[in-house]
Symmetry: C2
Subunit: 200 residues, 2 copies
DNA sequence: GCCTATAACGAACGTTCGTACTAATATGTA
DNA sequence: TACATATTAGTACGAACGTTCGTTATAGGC
């Protein structure tokens, strides 16, 4: 009862790491088992199917994102401090490579499953909607706090913020451009400045 | 001599379409052959290896991008008109689904190969660097023409423009949000306004 | 209409895929 | 310690993978 949970977690962590490199679809049970010195059947017994493994791995990644990016940001004061923390944690999440040697698994899955119906896609879409909603909520709080102008379109700003994150991921991981992080920070400040209240 | 080229083009077009849905790595010779009513070996004979097929398919997609997005934009006048045309064509490229039923193959490959060394990645990186360079050049021309402020950081603006495109692709394809195109256009105009010369 | 280069075929290679069984082992508890 | 159960290993499966082979059909130039 206890041991199973433990190895299952071990499996999922390795699955997340491997899938970040080869994708959730490229993830194979055989290679994952050999990486963990487990038999293929022994590993498979923890999941009912490969799709279940994929869903579990994605859920693990989402949970990690929640606790690494979102949870710490919620400790910051409402408004711009929290929004800045959220963004900063997000960039650090992209930069860190201990959990995802092949880049953020969630972003990779977004492209891999944008046209592949199934349980993985459903979970992914739900997570992305929730994420965007949370970003928009943080922006709305910044408006309420008077840090951003009252006329600010929160969804539009959330959209553009997300774009900056995506571009950072692209330039950093594919092009290997170290300046991307600085560009991202500059872009955020420019976005904030553009929507700042004259009072602040 | 003639026939071979013809079927090779047919194969590549179908390969691009299929790879846009399952990825260049998920592309399999068997399924591609059956889609074209060809034998697996007959199709394989056109390429020396699967990697060659992948590289050829990517090159085909890049060539299509060049002629659909870039070439028409070059006919516009230097400066903002050309930059706007470039951006507009790019959005249309993302939106159109006749060539890529599964979304832009190039963007998909960017995520799929950001950590997968080889010929595909090399070609991809070269293409992305060239693309970004061309965007930056268009921005520089807009500065020279006096449409954008002299102090404008062309690389920074190119970075942010690319982010808007990525966010549009994400919201449109994964979340199915029809408002993403309008958001993209608004974001472009805001970016232009922020860097516009006071004279213009 | 022949002749040769090209193009496509069908079969088979060894490997790996996901999954289904059963047997053995480890674990937690009485 | 012994039992019950949860966890792993082992084996096998049909299918699909990329690739190679030898052969057949077909195309274009004389």
């Amino acid at each position: 009862m206890r041991k199973g949970e433990h190895t299952r977690t071990l499996i999922l962590n390795e699955a997340v790491a491997l899938a970040s490199q080869v994708g959730l679809e490229g993830l194979s049970i055989g290679s994952l088992a050999s990486r963990l010195d487990l038999s293929k059947s022994g590993l498979f017994a923890h999941f009912g199917s490969k799709e279940d493994l994929q869903v579990s791995a994605l859920r693990q990644a989402q949970s990690l994102f929640q606790q690494r990016v979102f949870a710490p940001a919620l400790k910051e004061a409402r408004g711009l401090p929290r929004l800045r923390a959220l963004f900063s944690n997000w960039l650090a999440w992209i930069e860190r490579s201990d959990d995802f040697p092949g880049g953020c698994l969630i972003l990779a899955a977004c492209v891999e499953y944008d046209d592949r119906p199934g349980a993985v896609r459903n979970l992914l879409v739900a997570g992305q909607r929730e994420l965007r909603g949370a970003v928009v909520k943080a922006i709305r709080l910044a408006i309420e706090e008077g840090h951003l102008a009252a006329g600010t379109d929160a969804w539009q700003l959330g959209f553009e913020l997300f774009g900056v994150v995506l571009a950072t991921h692209h330039d950093r991981r594919l092009l290997g451009d170290p300046r991307s992080l600085g560009r991202a920070r500059d872009a955020l400040e420019r976005l904030i400045d553009a929507h700042r209240t004259t009072a602040a």
